[in-house]
C-alpha cells in the first residue's frame, strides 16, 4: 500500500504538469489557428459585418465635336432604393411613392414587402427635384444615392457614331463603347463602420481611394456638317422611299471623318425604344455589292500593274461571255473603241471586264487586298464589317469578270471611301479615324489616338493622278454630271448595283443600291464623300446612282465646301 501511495504521490505532479502542458498546447494551437491559419477568413467575416463600402462614382467624360460643342455629357441623378426589412407599412409607402413617382402601386408594394431581401431598387436615375419630394416624406427604409446619367443634348444627331451607355453607365455602342476605358474613369471608394442594426456609425468614414473622372473626347466630326448631311440624307430617303442610306465625308489626306450620317436614325436619349436594326452604323457595317462605283479600283489596278495607260484603246463588243456568263452593256449594242478613260466615263461593264482580264487572278486579288477590301479599315468604332471577298483560289470562272464591275464582292461604304481616298492621297491608303483628341479635365492628359497602323502605298502616284483625272472627266462629261458644283472641279463615280436575291440565286431586276462617290476641289481634293441609298425608287422610274445619289452628293459637298470656306483651285477657275 505504501509503495502504491508513494507512486501515486510521485505521479500526481507529473500528471498535473502534463494536463497543464496539453491544455497550453491545445490553447496555443487554437490561438495559432485563429490568429494565423484561419485569420484572414475571420478578418473578412468581421470586415463584412462591420464595414460598408460606398462607391464614389467617377464622372464619365464628355464627348465633343471638333469645335468643342457638347454631344454627350453626364448629369447627377438620384436613385431611390429600399431596405424592405425596415419598411413598416408597404401598402401605405407604395401609395405615397407611387403618387410622386407615377409608378404602379402594386409593383411597389410587392417590392417593399420582400422583407428578407435587404435591398430593392425603387427607381433609378431620376431628377433631384423628384427625389427630394420622396426624401421629404422621411420614410423608414427608403434611401437615396447619387448616380450619373448620360444625356445627349442633340438627341439623334450623330447617334450611330456617338453610341450610348447602359443603366450601369457602361458604353454599349459607338464611341461610348470603343473608348469606354478612357470615358469611364475609375470609381473611388469610402468605407464606413456600421452597428449591429446596420446603421452607419457617424465619424467612421475612411476614404480608400479618390474617384478619377473619365477623360473628355473630341471627335473629328463637325456638328454643322453632320447636321446638314443627316438632313439631306433624310430628305433624299423620304423623296425616293429608300429603305436606308448612308453618307460619309472624309478628308482623304488625313483620314479624318467630318460627318458620318445614317438613316434610319434613333433618339440617343431613348435608344431602348428604337428598333434594333436602326442602331446599326451602316457606314461601317453595311455589306453591299458596290456595282459600277467599284470600276475605278479595277482601272487603277490594271494601269498600275501593266503598261496599259489611261489612253490605251480597246475595241469593246456589246456583250462578252466569261465563264459561261454573258455580260452585256445596257445602252450599247454595237462594238466600239473605248480608251481606259472612256470605259470609266461611260461606265462600260464589258470594258471593265476586259481591263480585269489583262491581269492574272493573283495580281488582281493582291491589288484589291491592298486597297483594303476584305479587311477592316481600322476605324476607331466598334462593329466594323470587313465585307465578303473570297481568295482568288475560290473564284469561279466568272468571278474576276463580275468583281471588276462590282458584283460578287461585298464591301462597306467606309472601305469604298478609303479606296477612293487612296487615289486622292497619291496612292497611299489613309487610315480613317473618328477621335481627334482625348484630354483630362485638368488638361493633365492630352493625346491624339490616331490609328497606329502605318499608311501603306497601294498604287504609284502616277497611277493615282491618272485615275483622278479620269474621275474628274466622269463628272464633267460622263455619268456623274448631276454631281457638278458650280465654280469647282469635281471628280467622282456613279454606281447602280442590282441587289442579290436573299437566299436564292441571281439578282433582283427592279431593286438596286445606288451610290455616288466623289471629291472636290478638283486637282487637290480636300474632301471625299460617299452617298449610298438602298432600294430607292423615283416617280419616273429612273433609279441610278447619277439620278439618286449624285444630287445628294452635290448638295452635301457644296455645303461643306462653303462652310469650311474652301475656295476653288486656280485650275477650277480656269475650267
Amino acid at each position: 500500500m505504501g509503495i502504491i501511495r508513494r507512486a501515486k504521490d510521485e505521479f500526481r505532479p507529473i500528471f498535473i504538469f502534463l494536463v497543464i502542458i496539453s491544455s497550453f498546447l491545445i490553447l496555443s494551437y487554437r490561438l495559432i489557428d485563429l490568429q494565423v491559419l484561419e485569420a484572414q477568413e475571420y478578418v473578412d467575416f468581421a470586415t463584412n459585418q462591420h464595414d460598408r463600402d460606398y462607391n464614389l462614382f467617377a464622372q464619365r467624360g464628355k464627348i465633343y465635336d471638333k469645335n468643342g460643342k457638347e454631344l454627350a455629357l453626364s448629369l447627377h441623378q438620384v436613385t431611390l432604393f429600399a431596405n424592405p426589412y425596415f419598411v413598416k407599412d408597404p401598402l401605405n409607402y407604395a401609395i405615397k411613392l407611387g403618387e410622386i413617382l407615377n409608378m404602379n402601386v402594386e409593383d411597389l408594394k410587392e417590392k417593399l414587402s420582400r422583407s428578407n431581401s435587404g435591398f430593392e431598387y425603387i427607381t433609378r436615375k431620376i431628377g433631384p427635384e423628384l427625389a427630394n419630394r420622396v426624401m421629404e416624406l422621411n420614410l423608414d427604409g427608403i434611401y437615396s444615392t447619387r448616380e450619373d446619367k448620360r444625356f445627349y443634348p442633340k438627341d439623334s444627331q450623330a447617334c450611330h457614331l456617338i453610341g450610348f451607355v447602359g443603366l450601369d453607365n457602361k458604353g454599349l455602342a459607338g464611341v461610348e463603347l470603343e473608348y469606354e476605358k478612357q470615358l469611364h474613369g475609375t470609381d473611388g471608394k469610402i468605407i464606413a463602420k456600421q452597428d449591429g442594426l446596420g446603421r452607419i456609425i457617424p465619424g467612421t468614414y475612411t476614404l480608400k481611394s479618390d474617384p478619377e473622372d473619365g477623360y473628355d473626347i473630341h471627335l473629328t466630326i463637325d456638328e454643322n456638317i453632320q447636321f446638314y448631311t443627316e438632313s439631306r440624307l433624310k430628305k433624299g430617303i423620304q423623296e425616293t422611299g429608300a429603305k436606308r442610306g448612308t453618307i460619309i465625308i472624309m478628308q482623304p489626306k488625313t483620314g479624318e471623318i467630318l460627318a458620318m450620317a445614317n438613316y434610319p436614325d434613333f433618339d440617343l436619349n431613348g435608344f431602348n425604344q428604337s428598333n434594333s436594326d436602326n442602331l446599326k452604323n451602316l457606314a461601317i457595317s453595311y455589306n453591299f455589292e458596290p456595282g459600277s462605283v467599284f470600276k475605278f479600283v479595277t482601272a487603277s489596278s490594271v494601269i498600275d500593274s501593266s503598261s496599259i495607260s489611261k489612253e490605251t484603246v480597246f475595241n469593246l463588243p456589246p456583250t462578252i461571255k466569261v465563264g459561261g456568263r454573258v455580260i452585256s452593256e445596257p445602252f450599247r449594242h454595237v462594238a466600239k473603241d473605248y480608251s481606259v478613260a472612256d470605259i470609266l466615263i461611260k461606265s462600260a461593264n464589258v470594258g471593265t471586264v476586259i481591263l480585269a482580264q489583262q491581269m492574272s487572278d493573283e495580281v488582281y486579288y493582291n491589288y484589291l487586298s491592298k486597297f483594303g477590301f476584305g479587311q477592316s479599315t481600322g476605324i476607331d468604332l466598334p462593329g466594323e464589317e470587313i465585307g465578303v471577298f473570297n481568295h482568288y483560289s475560290q473564284w469561279s470562272g466568272s468571278s474576276k469578270a463580275t468583281i471588276s464591275f462590282g458584283q460578287g464582292i461585298s464591301v462597306t461604304p467606309i472601305q469604298l471611301l478609303r479606296a477612293l481616298s487612296t487615289i486622292l492621297n497619291d496612292g497611299v491608303a489613309p487610315n480613317p479615324y473618328i477621335v481627334k483628341r482625348i484630354c483630362g479635365k485638368n488638361g493633365d492628359i492630352d493625346y491624339f489616338p490616331k490609328p497606329e497602323i502605318a499608311e501603306k502605298r497601294v498604287i504609284s502616284s502616277e497611277t493615282a493622278e491618272a485615275i483622278k483625272s479620269i474621275l474628274i472627266r466622269v463628272v464633267e462629261e460622263g455619268t456623274g454630271k448631276n454631281a457638278k458644283i458650280e465654280g469647282y472641279k469635281v471628280g467622282g463615280k456613279t454606281g447602280t448595283a442590282e441587289k442579290p436575291i436573299e437566299g436564292g440565286r441571281g439578282y433582283h431586276s427592279d431593286i438596286s443600291i445606288t451610290s455616288f462617290m466623289g471629291f472636290a476641289p478638283g486637282d487637290d481634293p480636300t474632301l471625299a464623300c460617299i452617298v449610298m441609298m438602298d432600294e430607292p425608287s423615283t416617280a419616273n422610274g429612273r433609279v441610278w446612282g447619277s439620278t439618286v445619289a449624285a444630287p445628294i452628293f452635290k448638295d452635301v459637298m457644296s455645303f461643306t465646301l462653303d462652310y469650311l470656306r474652301i475656295p476653288p483651285l486656280t485650275t477650277d477657275i480656269e475650267q
Binding site: E70, L73, L75, F151, D155, N224
Partner: protein, 167 residues
C-alpha cells in the same frame, strides 16, 4: 536565554519607536520643499488643464472650419451641378436642328432651294400697263374713275402681271 531574548525584543521595539519619531521629525523639517512641490503640482495641473482646454478649443475650431469647408464644398458641388445642367440646356438650345426649326417657324427663314428668284423687266411691265390703260380708255371712253373701280379692268391688269411673272 529567555530573559535575554525578551530584553532583545524590548530593545527592538524601542529602536522602532525611535525610528518612527525620527521619521516624523524629518517630515517637519522638509515642509518648505513640499510646498514647492505642491505649487509645482498645482501649476502643472493648471497648465495641463489649459493645454487640454486649448486642444479642445483648437479641435472645436478645426471642426468648425471643417464644417465650413464641407458646406462650401457642398455649395460648390451644388453650383457645379447647376452649371452642368445649364451647360446641358445651352447645348440643347444650340442644337442645329432646333435653330433650323426655330428659324423656319418663327424667323421666316427659307432654304435657298425653296426660294424662286424672278427677274422682272419693269420697263416692259410699265409699257404693258400703259397699253392696257390706253385700250381700256378707247373701249369704255367714259371717266377714268369708272375704269379704276371696274373689277374686270383690275383682273386684266393682274392677269398681265402674272403672265409676265410666270411666262
Amino acid at each position: 536565554m529567555v530573559i535575554d531574548t525578551r530584553a532583545e525584543i524590548l530593545l527592538r521595539k524601542r529602536s522602532k519607536r525611535k525610528k518612527k519619531s525620527y521619521l516624523v521629525k524629518q517630515e517637519r523639517v522638509k515642509t518648505g520643499s513640499s510646498m514647492i512641490s505642491l505649487t509645482f503640482f498645482i501649476t502643472s495641473i493648471v497648465l495641463i488643464g489649459l493645454l487640454c482646454f486649448s486642444i479642445i478649443l483648437l479641435n472645436f475650431q478645426i471642426a468648425q472650419n471643417q464644417l465650413k469647408i464641407n458646406n462650401t464644398r457642398k455649395e460648390i458641388n451644388y453650383q457645379s451641378e447647376i452649371k452642368e445642367r445649364l451647360n446641358f440646356r445651352i447645348a440643347q438650345l444650340q442644337s442645329p436642328q432646333r435653330i433650323f426649326e426655330e428659324a423656319i417657324a418663327n424667323l421666316g427663314m427659307s432654304n435657298p432651294d425653296e426660294i424662286n428668284y424672278l427677274n422682272i423687266d419693269t420697263f416692259q411691265l410699265v409699257e404693258q400697263q400703259k397699253l392696257l390703260e390706253e385700250n381700256q380708255d378707247t373701249q369704255v371712253g367714259s371717266s377714268g374713275s369708272e375704269n379704276f373701280f371696274n373689277p374686270e379692268f383690275k383682273e386684266d391688269v393682274y392677269k398681265t402681271i402674272l403672265t409676265l411673272l410666270f411666262p
